[in-house]
């Protein structure tokens, strides 16, 4: 048995870890060692990737590329390959993943199971939108190849399906043609949520990537930094390779508190404000700023942290976001990382996908137990009332009632669950 934590480090529980090393061996292992759950690189924040006292099928041994077509940009890869590996291998040939989350240290399988999104949702949708085919292994040994046209119901259930429909062995991904690693970006400070929405609305047709950092402690005087970027046409310049820093230990007390937060947020706002304007940035710095500090999750101390990410429809988005920020500011809670972004109108491919038209707010909260959970209760009621939902990849404590209410395709999903797969999250939300 091995102690395993998810990225939020809220607790660490014993698991029976089984390394999957090839599709053939996976078939034998999961047929014998179940019920279990596929585990990639452990970057999910909450309990979606945990199965305490049970089996965890570690997919990192499924790390081969299977086929590549340089004409069409279609890549078939095993599920344990990291997005970083895809980006590094194909960028020099003019191809990139069309959609990636804020870290490239997640596996392809994990990105599918959580149907992750990036800063370009309004232009390119979610990760699942670029999956052509999937190969799914059920714990009864059945292998299902599915796509939008073949076994499409399995395809829809598996994208964003929390790994509960089977083990994703392989996927065919459509990469996107790019001219290089550089982006032309623009940084614009803003005051007030109205400003944010108007910047978002006016940027989405012309800018591929948009995202905002906000000062979550500023309350009703919300201020923030809006960032937008487009892929740059052939720019030749040297990128100085910097070695990622690493947090080597977990401080006994979290340095994230109301004083440091307030200081950081104010300082960050003014520094970024000073840097406003246009610039050329490398894709790694723009897409994955946190990957530069390995194990940054230790900064929240031994109690770990929550990330609370919601999506609210546009009609209620402004008021609900304002309400949420008010609650957070009142509680003097929050973090360095507070991200606000609008999702585009395209519906997601998966039955349980998170991304849907509206505005999404993501915040980290140091775990202060009852106090933090009480705040979340208040935020939950704002989200629910506004017709929104929480992101399963980040969640660790939403009630089953809220889940049922906010994920309308749940009934359609249920028949596709693999009875040999269970997780902390599935037990919390589905009861099994």
């Amino acid at each position: 048995m091995k102690l395993v934590q998810s990225w939020g480090r809220l607790d660490s529980k014993l698991h029976q870890v089984v390394l999957l090393t090839s599709p053939q061996q996976s078939k034998i292992e999961i047929k014998e060692k179940f019920p279990g759950l596929a585990f990639g690189n452990g970057r999910s924040y909450g309990d979606i990737c945990l199965n305490p006292n049970g089996f965890l099928w570690n997919t990192q041994g499924l790390s081969n590329f299977c086929s590549w077509n340089p004409e069409t940009g279609r890549l078939t890869t095993e599920a344990g390959v990291l997005l970083k590996d895809v980006q590094q291998t194909f960028l020099s040939r003019g191809w990139m993943l069309p959609v990636t989350p804020g870290t490239q240290l997640v596996t392809v399988g994990g990105a599918i199971a959580n149907d992750v999104h990036g800063k370009n949702h309004h232009a390119f949708g979610t990760f699942g939108d670029h999956i052509i085919r999937l190969w799914l292994l059920r714990t009864n040994g059945q292998e299902i190849e599915c796509s939008r046209s073949v076994n499409s119901e399995w395809f829809e259930a598996t994208i964003g399906g929390m790994g509960l429909t089977g083990v994703i062995l392989k996927a065919e991904i459509q990469l996107k043609q790019v001219s290089g690693p550089w982006l032309e970006s623009e940084t614009i400070p803003f005051q007030g949520l109205e400003d944010f929405f108007s910047l978002s609305d006016s940027s989405e047709s012309k800018w591929e990537h948009t995202v905002s950092w906000i000062d979550c402690l500023a309350g009703i005087n919300t201020r923030g930094i809006f960032m937008r970027a487009n892929p740059s046409k052939h720019i030749e310049r040297e990128k100085t390779a910097s070695k990622p820093k690493k947090i080597f230990f977990t401080p006994p007390i979290s340095p994230v508190n109301k004083f440091t937060l307030s200081f950081f947020n104010t300082a960050y706002y003014w520094i970024q404000r000073g840097r406003s304007g246009k610039s050329i940035v490398n894709y790694k710095d723009f897409f994955y700023p946190l990957d530069g500090v390995l194990e940054w999750n230790r900064l929240y101390g031994p109690n770990g942290f929550y990330q609370y990410q919601s999506v609210i429809p546009r009609e209620t988005g402004l008021d609900a976001t304002r309400e949420m920020l008010k609650e957070i500011s009142r509680a003097r809670e929050g973090s360095f990382l507070a991200v606000l972004k609008t999702f585009g109108k395209r519906p997601s491919s998966g039955l349980l996908s998170f991304a849907r038209p509206g505005v999404t707010l993501a915040l980290d909260f140091p775990n202060r137990n009852v106090k933090t959970l009480a705040l979340f209760k208040r935020l939950d009621s704002i989200v629910e009332e506004a017709g929104g939902a929480l992101y399963l990849a980040k969640d660790n404590r939403m009630s089953s009632k809220m889940f049922v209410k906010t994920y309308p395709s749940l009934e359609k999903f249920l028949p596709f669950r693999d009875p040999g797969i269970t997780s902390s999250m599935s037990r919390r939300l589905f009861g099994s």
Binding site: K2, V17, S22, N58, N64, L75
Partner: protein
């Protein structure tokens, strides 16, 4: 037999399906295209790895050879064929299997197989290549040993004995070429427990192991610097120093 492209470095990997070897191959091919010859026993896995590496490095020439790892005749023929065609720049010898110690104690067939695949096979391959490379005073040979070879321990002494044999063999080979070989370097790698399929049971038991990627990075770096011995991750150098120097009356009381 092989599509030789003389401008490329020629890299031979024996036991190419090993996770550490596979990571080394990825690192070498990321740095520059190469002519890679993968030698292995598991045909299906070798095929998967070959096609993966071909996608990663389409400019490289990558081929695979199946060899009986315990048949000295096949090993001799293979090493001779490769070296006579063109001397390798790098040879990585990485095959191995971690046996169950208790099974080795009860079943001498298992015991012999463990000694052969972890001890005799790597030595035969190394000797096969060294014959040509020492004569030409050219290239780098990297052999993966183990920290288990540093001192016999109740938990894995059959495996450890095979690895100790490799250690002594490499020591001798290094001694043999010292003085007259200046361009051939021989590196013995001693990885601590690494997260690979071989240590699946240790991982399941909760051991916190180094990643194959980390180990491979250190191997490539050490080989580039023409080092002769590497403990990886580096802390294992200190740990094994202490274990080697523990007096028997204390050592024999510790169950490791």
């Amino acid at each position: 037999m092989l599509d030789t492209q003389p401008l490329f470095r020629r890299i031979i990997i024996v036991g190419a399906t090993s996770a550490i070897a596979n990571q080394c191959a990825k690192i070498w091919l990321t740095a520059q295209s190469a002519e890679l010859i993968l030698i292995g026993r598991d045909e299906l896995k070798l095929k998967q790895i070959t096609s993966d590496l071909k996608i990663r490095s389409p400019q490289s020439s990558i081929s695979s050879i199946f060899v009986n790892f315990l048949d000295e005749k096949s090993i001799q023929e293979t090493t001779q064929l490769i070296c006579e065609e063109r001397l390798p720049d790098i040879v990585l010898i990485a095959q191995g299997a971690l046996p169950n110690q208790e099974e080795c104690q009860h079943n001498l067939n298992v015991c012999r197989a463990a000694l052969e695949i972890n001890g005799i096979s790597p030595i035969l391959f190394t000797e096969g290549f060294a014959k040509f490379m020492a004569k030409a005073d050219f290239g780098r040979i990297i052999v993966i040993g183990s920290v288990a070879g540093d001192r016999g321990r109740q938990s894995n002494y059959v495996y450890g004995a095979a690895k100790a044999m490799v250690h002594r063999y490499i020591e001798g080979l290094q001694h043999r070429i010292a003085g007259h070989c200046h361009n051939l370097s021989i590196l013995l790698v001693k990885p601590g427990p690494t997260a690979t399929p071989m240590t699946r049971h240790l991982q399941a038991a909760g051991a916190s192991l180094a990643s194959a990627e980390t180990v491979a990075l250190e191997i490539v770096e050490a080989s580039n610097k023409h080092k002769t011995q590497l403990y990886t991750p580096k802390k294992w150098g200190i740990i094994m120093f202490l274990i080697r120097h523990l007096p028997s009356f204390i050592f024999n009381k510790i169950r490791i």
